[in-house]
């Protein structure tokens, strides 16, 4: 699958591993691929994202809302509507298991680092759908722009949710990519 990836696209995949590791994640997920786009200089995906109003800071702040295991931090207000006091739950749990017990992911803390870090379902999906987007656009390579388009599908989890919540739409993005690629070929 990777033989058709451009140099930049390969670099994004490598950077995603670094992103996941540095964030203490137990797997490479779609949001790490999204963040990794900003680690590779001068790529089409970032150009497209900039045109759509998404920059590194925005992605960083969205990832900041997730726990290292990719789950959203529990919403105390939402739980309060059910009569559940999250602070009280946290207090009880910490009393038995120590500070931070509720918020610390088991996977990251119970496993040694330096070894292989796997791509989870959402990251694999991004790459698979990226390939499909390249085929759809009749491009004979997979570039950063296709990785980005691969993220704009609900099955890709957090990256999809972040982009969609900031108004990035699949159809509009595809058109933008086509225009930019055509422009690049022409000029």
């Amino acid at each position: 699958m990777f033989e058709r990836f451009t140099e930049r696209a390969r670099t994004v995949v490598i950077a995603a591993q670094k992103q996941a590791r540095e964030r203490g994640a137990d797997a490479i997920r779609s949001e790490h691929l999204l963040a990794a786009l900003f680690d590779v200089p001068d790529n089409l995906a970032v150009t497209v994202l900039a045109a759509l109003g998404v920059d590194r800071d925005l992605v960083e702040s969205e990832i900041g809302k997730l726990r290292p295991d990719g789950r959203p931090t529990p919403d105390a207000e939402a739980l309060a509507t059910l009569g559940i006091d999250l602070d009280e739950v946290r207090r009880q749990v910490e009393e038995a298991f120590g500070p931070g017990a509720l918020d610390r992911p088991r996977a990251a803390s119970s496993r040694g680092w330096g070894g292989h870090i796997r791509f989870d379902r959402t990251a694999k999906k991004v790459l698979e759908l990226g390939l499909r987007e390249a085929l759809l656009l009749k491009h004979n390579y997979i570039g950063t722009e296709h990785i980005l388009l691969g993220m704009l599908h609900p099955a890709t989890g957090a990256a999809h949710d972040m982009l969609v919540s900031h108004g990035v739409r699949q159809d509009a993005t595809r058109i933008l990519v086509e225009e930019l690629v055509r422009g690049r070929r022409a000029g």
């Binding site: 529990p74 739980l79 992911p105 088991r106």
Partner: protein
């Protein structure tokens, strides 16, 4: 003031956005608690079968879900 707040709360609970967000948060909390308790049980030497019995799921299911944690 208190009554007005109550009415507002009652009204908003019929809002799917509020209700669904609450369910999603509850699921997240449930997952965190399960993880914590399974880790604790394993640390105390419980078998996967024992854990599965109390959680009322199959041994297979609990093992598959937590195997990657490395215990």
């Amino acid at each position: 003031m208190t009554d007005a707040t109550k009415v507002a709360a009652a009204a908003s609970s019929r809002d799917p956005a509020v209700g669904l967000a609450a369910v999603a948060s509850l699921r997240g909390l449930l997952e965190s608690l399960e993880e914590l308790q399974v880790t604790n049980a394993r640390a105390q030497g419980w078998s996967w079968q024992q854990i599965a019995d109390v959680l009322r799921v199959s041994r297979q299911a609990v093992h598959k879900k937590y195997r990657r944690f490395g215990f």
